[in-house]
Symmetry: C2
Subunit: 595 residues, 2 copies
């Protein structure tokens, strides 16, 4: 099947005299998760992970991705000709140099400009120009190959009410307009779907796992334009937007409208989300800067923080009920990873304001837990029995917030010393980073290693960053702040500020043996102000017991034990009133004080 | 005086129709410390620190530097019109944007291309082109203003013998030639003085505190050229170089020879040390990469490690004798900071293979210790008496190695709780980073904060990176590895590898009150190899007691106390045999075991 699709693409490439085609995993908004319409890379490669780039030449179909996905690519592409090319740095465009090396002078590369940011095309041209390689923008390439391609999403749009958003669109737009004025510009242009959903307080279900709306937005000093199919809005939404001087034009009309709208104007935008087709359509002058909406959105207001705290109660109850069910059911029978994931979803579905999963739950038994972004297949997924280790990484979208949690549990039998040392090291790493106090403005790359130091001491490590920002009924991987090992990503270089939501999720993985990860969402808060600066620390918001069966208590310090006991006390206090007597008894047993 | 010099420069600028003149602190080799001939920025501004850039316009004389030098600039420039402009990021060229903002379109900026790297001119032109601002290369500007300017250095050159270098020039050149061959290039061009001194195993005293030789080197596949005044070499050195197919041509002949030598050739070089005048003189094609000599040099061979260990014994003895002298002498009289520095130099001078100081010793009493790169003036420096806090940061060049050590000592009276907490936090920071185990390849920015975490917990911090590489009878600040808070410097981004020498030097400073810094040189060693990687840790090489009078023992963990006792035991074991009975008794008292 994949072979046939690649064959069709090669025939198309031949007809257009193209020597290499680049198919990234993104959409015209540089989204991480994309609508089915944009799943081109998965369609042509078979690899369904969220990050990876396919490069097809006459002889090679190269899938470039980072270490999180190595095992998954090898598994999903084992029966086709797609070959894994390993990125040494996640998201680094290492394939560009590679393509330009293997192509002859005056060759031609095909791509869809909408799938590439301005910054990416600049980068590509830095290499292609050296060898006079031409770029051909072919926005319709897939139309001619991919029959039955899903449409651009078209669902109805709901307004996200102030009781959840905590700030009106009018108030948010005012801040953007002040920025336009201060910069003596005419417009602020937004391409990023989560920024637009935040700014206009609207939600839909265009993208898997994420309540986004396919749109562009051009905010002016007085009037603004939302490029989004009008029929998707209710009459009341349209009139509400009208009152704010926001007019709505169809999504596809942007290409025709943008040139005249922007003639001789100054437009502020974020080059990292602006696609190259839109860049070329603008006639005015750009001022590039990190998106104001992204920066404002990353700092949660009081209502959003209250909202996510409510979600943590709901998630905590669902997870408690789920782990009780799992333990009891495994006494009776083996259960597939897929069924376990569905069951967990079922427990969350019963909670108030539940919308859906915030990403494809990872239920990885034993060696499957080592595949970092694993998804259990619907058919023939691994059977889980009441022994060994299970990693469960899951999250939900509720109208009042977004969650993301990982727990690793021991299902029975006697864990090896190696496993206990690894699990305990991961837990200690989590505690170390969560308890760190640091100056506001510290970048993620500066403190990521606090979650690793104890692992390193034991000769262990993990091949991913230690955490990411998380949205408020928004993206589960929200830009920009986080914890990363390199300064080449924004997760590494973005300053941490007060009132941000971030995950802390160290891990440890041994291929074919086990995967361990412990993840909580934490809130950054001001804890100290001195003449040396403002200092922050993290408050854990996630509420779910941490399995103590895998802890080697010899390795815990008094401080670690205090942390664990306090956390478990906190979990019982908050979840207790929401559980029945039997459930609470079970949870108290899981959370019992440790020496 | 400074006013007159700036006045002369402005007259010169007026005659050349120049609207701004940029005077950086470097020489044509992008050196940190420069020969007197190149101390242009100090000549025109009065500021003598090692990092800073002067920009002179018709109305403004702006001195751009980073937080390490803020207090020093304010002190040294208080009686002239030079104004401090604060760099928010050390070494960041923030002045360029500023100049281009204040200049009109079609203005002209004067500079000496030899003082700027290719990368720097590219950066500058990125801004100047936007406003059609012209750059004027004026290599002779100072000649016409600075009468009595010192000559380019001209001292005799000695060959650094294999008993100290541990590797022959032939062996080093072989590695460079292999690289030239592998890259299918013709030459490797070196501009950096410390790389050239290392590669050709030669030393002189061209630069303050650093045993370097003013030269350029063009290494070819068979023959190489050293551009360095021939009369500086002994006959035997010249014939030794001849045997290695190295010909020597006068330093100034490079401008005339380079164009024909490089016609149609491929030249590998490091753009960060290549000056723009040389870049323009080359007729061939450049391949830019991080300098191979720099990378090789950063990894010390066995002889070099043995050498620096011998130096640490010498330094340790000198420092012990010095602190004994200081303690006794202060009982009798107050002593100036300047005299204290000279006395310390005197103790080192008596040691074998001593050449000179490796930088201007910092002897900072009380508030002066808060001036991070303080130098006590020869006249009227602060008088030190037997009470309060004293910071002493010093180092030496010996033929067998280079040292750099900071100790902060309490001279008498009762230290405040605040001071003890700060000192103890600095010590704990040092211990934390020194004891860290981490994967080979970890960048400095990832682990710098381990030296800060305890300070942060107490609301404290320090405005400089935590350490730098150090040479082997070479530069005290050797590129590239180190520990930094940002990923914008190589100290932050360079991977740590085994067998490198680096300093660990956390601190804490309160202006006008105190400065605390504790600094050792450490050696990176492989401590563990697992399936997760090769892990390194640091071995402290510096041998000098750490003052315990300022420690708040309540804040030390058992691990901290063990570290301190072990370190002191090690100091006594190694220095003991080299001290007389009375000295050893004194040292044992300083190093006595703590609870």
């Amino acid at each position: 099947m994949i072979t046939e699709r690649i064959g069709n693409l090669r025939a198309y490439m031949h007809s257009k005299r193209i020597h290499a085609f680049i198919i990234p995993s993104t959409d015209p908004h540089q989204s991480e998760y994309v609508a089915d319409h944009w799943k081109l890379r998965a369609y042509f490669s078979g690899f369904t992970g969220s990050a990876g780039i396919l490069v097809v030449t006459k002889d090679i179909a190269a899938l470039w991705t980072d270490s999180r996905y190595f095992l998954q690519v090898e598994e999903e592409c084992k029966n086709n000709e797609v070959t894994l090319y390993k990125q040494s740095i996640p998201h680094a465009p290492e394939h560009i140099e590679w393509i330009c090396n293997i192509l002859d002078e005056h060759s031609s590369i095909g791509l869809d400009y909408r799938q590439f940011s301005k910054a990416q095309i600049d980068y590509i041209q830095g290499f292609t120009r050296l060898k006079n390689i031409e770029l051909q923008n072919l926005p319709h390439f897939a139309k001619e190959i991919w029959t039955n391609r899903p449409d651009v999403p078209n669902h109805s749009i709901t307004i996200h009410p102030i009781e959840f958003s905590g700030e009106s669109t009018a108030s948010k737009l005012k801040k953007v307009k002040e920025k336009i004025k201060n910069q003596q510009a005419d417009f602020y242009f937004f391409s990023s779907l989560d920024e637009i959903a935040w700014l206009f307080n609207m939600r839909s279900k265009d993208v898997d796992f994420t309540p986004l709306v396919t749109a562009y937005a051009l905010v002016g000093k007085k009037t603004s334009i939302l490029f989004c199919d009008k029929h998707r809005f209710s009459a009341s939404a349209i009139s509400m937007f009208q009152e704010l001087n926001i007019s709505i034009h169809d999504y596809d009309s942007i290409a025709a409208m943008l040139p005249s709208l922007t003639q001789n104007k100054i437009i502020i935008t974020d080059a990292s989300s602006l696609n190259y087709a839109t860049f070329e359509a603008v006639r005015g002058t750009f001022v590039f800067e990190n998106s104001l909406a992204k920066e404002l959105k990353a700092i949660k207001n009081t209502i959003e923080v209250e909202g996510v705290k409510k979600c943590m109660l709901k998630d905590g109850v669902a997870l408690t009920k789920f782990f009780i069910w799992l333990e009891k059911e495994l006494e009776k029978r083996a259960i597939s990873e897929y069924e376990i994931g569905k069951k967990l979803e079922g427990f969350r579905q019963q909670r108030e304001h539940y919308i859906g999963e915030s990403f494809a739950a990872i239920v990885g038994y034993k060696g499957n837990g080592a595949i970092i972004h694993y998804t259990a297949p619907k058919e023939d997924s691994t059977m889980v029995s009441n022994e060994g280790i299970l990693l469960v990484d899951s999250g939900a979208q509720y109208k009042d917030g977004t969650t993301d949690i990982t727990r690793t549990v021991w299902l029975g039998g006697t864990p090896s010393e190696e496993l206990k040392r690894a699990y305990t090291s991961v837990l200690k790493g989590y505690i170390e980073l969560e308890q760190l106090q640091f100056p506001e403005g510290t970048a993620g790359v500066q403190i990521d290693a606090f979650a690793r130091a104890y692992l390193w001491k034991n000769g262990l490590d993990y091949p991913h960053g230690t955490g990411h920002g998380i949205g408020s009924f928004g993206m589960v991987h929200e830009p920009d702040q986080g914890f990363a090992t390199t300064a080449t990503t924004k997760r590494g270089t973005t300053p941490h500020l007060a009132n941000q939501l971030t995950t802390i999720e160290p891990g440890c993985y041994v291929a074919k043996e086990f995967g361990i990860r412990i993840e909580n969402v934490v809130l950054s808060r001001i804890i100290n102000k001195t003449k040396f600066g403002v200092f922050l620390s993290f408050e854990p918001l996630t509420l779910c017991y941490i399995d103590t069966n895998l802890i080697d208590f010899e390795l815990l310090t008094k401080n670690d034990i205090n942390w664990l006991n306090n956390y478990h006390k906190h979990v019982i206090e908050l979840l207790g009133p929401l559980l029945n007597k039997e459930e609470l008894k079970w949870l108290k047993n899981k959370c019992k004080m440790t020496h």
